[in-house]
């Protein structure tokens, strides 16, 4: 069985069938990631795409720790998703092709592996998937 671990504790609820991003709220200001010492607040899982771009080259490593190389790197998209009444969250997007993304489209939170360690452990991060063509939480592929 593949071992899966979150990239860090305290970013999203895990393990969970319906993971949520862990933000915080203090004096009416909502933050993500959670502000140290502030009361935590789980964020909504659905929103709309505010803007996006893609990452066509392997990010400098470190700090990027994907187990790929400049040759095997698979481009991904990222952007900001507007969570109604909360904030804009920056995230990877599961759809890598900018031509298939549009501002305002519904998106929902998923948790996905972004790299595999030498011992086979999959490392998980959060991402947003187009809400129209996604079922489940995306972590059971």
């Amino acid at each position: 069985m593949t071992t899966r671990v979150p990239v860090a504790e305290g970013v999203f609820t895990w393990p969970s069938d319906q993971p949520r991003l862990i933000g915080s709220e203090r004096d009416g200001v909502i933050s993500f990631p959670a502000e140290p010492g502030a009361p935590q607040r789980l964020l909504g899982t659905r929103g709309t795409l505010w803007s996006f771009t893609n990452q066509q080259f392997r990010p400098p490593s470190p700090p990027y720790d994907g187990n790929d190389t400049a040759e095997t790197f698979v481009p991904y998209a990222l952007g900001y998703v507007e969570l109604p009444g909360e904030l804009l969250v920056q995230a990877r997007l599961t759809e890598p092709d900018p031509a298939k993304l549009r501002i305002g489209q519904p998106m929902e939170l998923v948790v996905v592996p972004y790299t595999v360690r030498d011992d086979g452990t999959e490392v998980l991060t959060y991402a947003f998937a187009p809400a129209d063509d996604t079922t489940g939480d995306g972590s059971n592929d």
Binding site: P63, Y64, G79
Partner: protein
């Protein structure tokens, strides 16, 4: 004295002479050059000195600016998962801006082509090979919608600006250029800024807007009185957006401006006459002072093949950088 790669720039300029005068190192992201200029001007304004020099220098390796996110107070996972980069901010901002204001990607390519063409007639530029908009559009995408030649690159370079009290200028030159204003502003809550894992729902103007408004007010000039401008063009989208953020046109008017050639050397507001960052790269300590050098050459009528016609008397320089800082300086002769 501004630099990113040199941790103590004072230590390596000893050959300028060791005189005991105050020397300050400054780093303020991509706004470093404008910040050192502003500090030199303040030293004169406050009576600390009659003459002051702003120096900038950097020598960035390929892939510069890779760092641990903890250096800027962000969690390690932000870097591990490939989100701690500055470049994708520009793609994200451009995607939204083009969408909101009905601007085509062709305008981005034309801006990059204009800057490379201006660089081709600037002897000290770094990229001197002109490219067509079609070639620029066909180059590899870096961060949608921006392609390789729509971006500047880190490189190396140095520049310096000597300032003195205005009433002393005639001692040193017969063609003084006056610094009418020099303003630094940082981001407000709600500004769309890089290195932000999240942002509040409310939007605030960019620090560029705040710096520009204050600089125009202090100079007693308006955008329609500026005859040559150097605007931060980290990428072609930045130049396009900065045309509006600095008050030269309304959001969305850029499409027509670019189509008309309004920002060409022969246009009504020449922008980045030496090719800007796209042709000169961005040694971040020096870049803003290069803008001043170009502006001074233009106002003195000494810019050679790239001289703006019509004897320009006013110039404008603008920087913008992480994590949300902007400087604007206005010059006249």
């Amino acid at each position: 004295m501004g630099s990113h790669e040199v941790s103590n720039p004072d230590a390596i300029v000893g050959w300028l002479g060791l005189t005991g005068i105050p020397v300050r190192g400054v780093f303020n992201g991509c706004a470093t050059g404008g910040t050192s200029l502003q500090m030199a001007a303040q030293a004169i304004r406050h009576g600390e000195a009659d003459v002051a020099m702003a120096i900038g220098m950097d020598k960035h390796p390929r892939g510069a600016f890779a760092a641990d996110p903890s250096a800027v107070g962000l969690p390690s996972w932000y870097g591990q998962t490939g989100m701690f980069l500055t470049t994708h901010f520009f793609g994200t901002k451009a995607t939204r801006y083009l969408h909101d204001h009905g601007i085509s990607v062709d305008s981005l390519a034309r801006i990059a082509a204009k800057n490379l063409r201006n660089g081709s007639i600037t002897p000290h530029a770094w990229r001197r090979k002109p490219m067509t908009p079609e070639q620029i559009l066909a180059s590899p995408v870096v961060n949608h919608p921006l392609t390789q030649y729509m971006y500047c690159s880190p490189d190396e370079g140095a520049a310096a600006v000597v300032l003195c009290r205005a009433d002393l200028a005639s001692r040193f030159t017969s063609a003084p250029v006056y610094l009418r204003s020099s303003v630094l502003r940082s981001r407000r809550s709600g500004a769309f800024e890089m290195q932000s894992p999240s942002l509040p729902l409310h939007r605030a103007p960019s620090p560029t807007v705040d710096a520009s408004v204050a600089a125009f007010e202090e100079a007693g000039l308006g955008p329609d009185e500026i005859r040559v401008a150097q605007l931060q063009d980290t990428d072609a989208g930045s130049e396009l957006i900065h045309m509006a953020e600095n008050g030269f046109c309304k959001d969305g008017e850029q499409e027509q401006w670019i189509a008309d050639g309004a920002t060409e050397i022969t246009g009504r507001l020449p922008v980045n006459t030496d090719g800007g960052l796209i042709a000169n790269g961005e040694p971040i300590g020096a870049s803003g002072l290069r803008q001043v050098y170009e502006t001074v050459l233009q106002l003195r009528g000494r810019a050679g093949e790239r001289q703006v016609p019509g004897n320009p008397k006013t110039g404008y320089t603008h920087l913008y950088g992480a994590p949300g800082a902007s400087t604007v300086s206005i010059f006249s002769r």
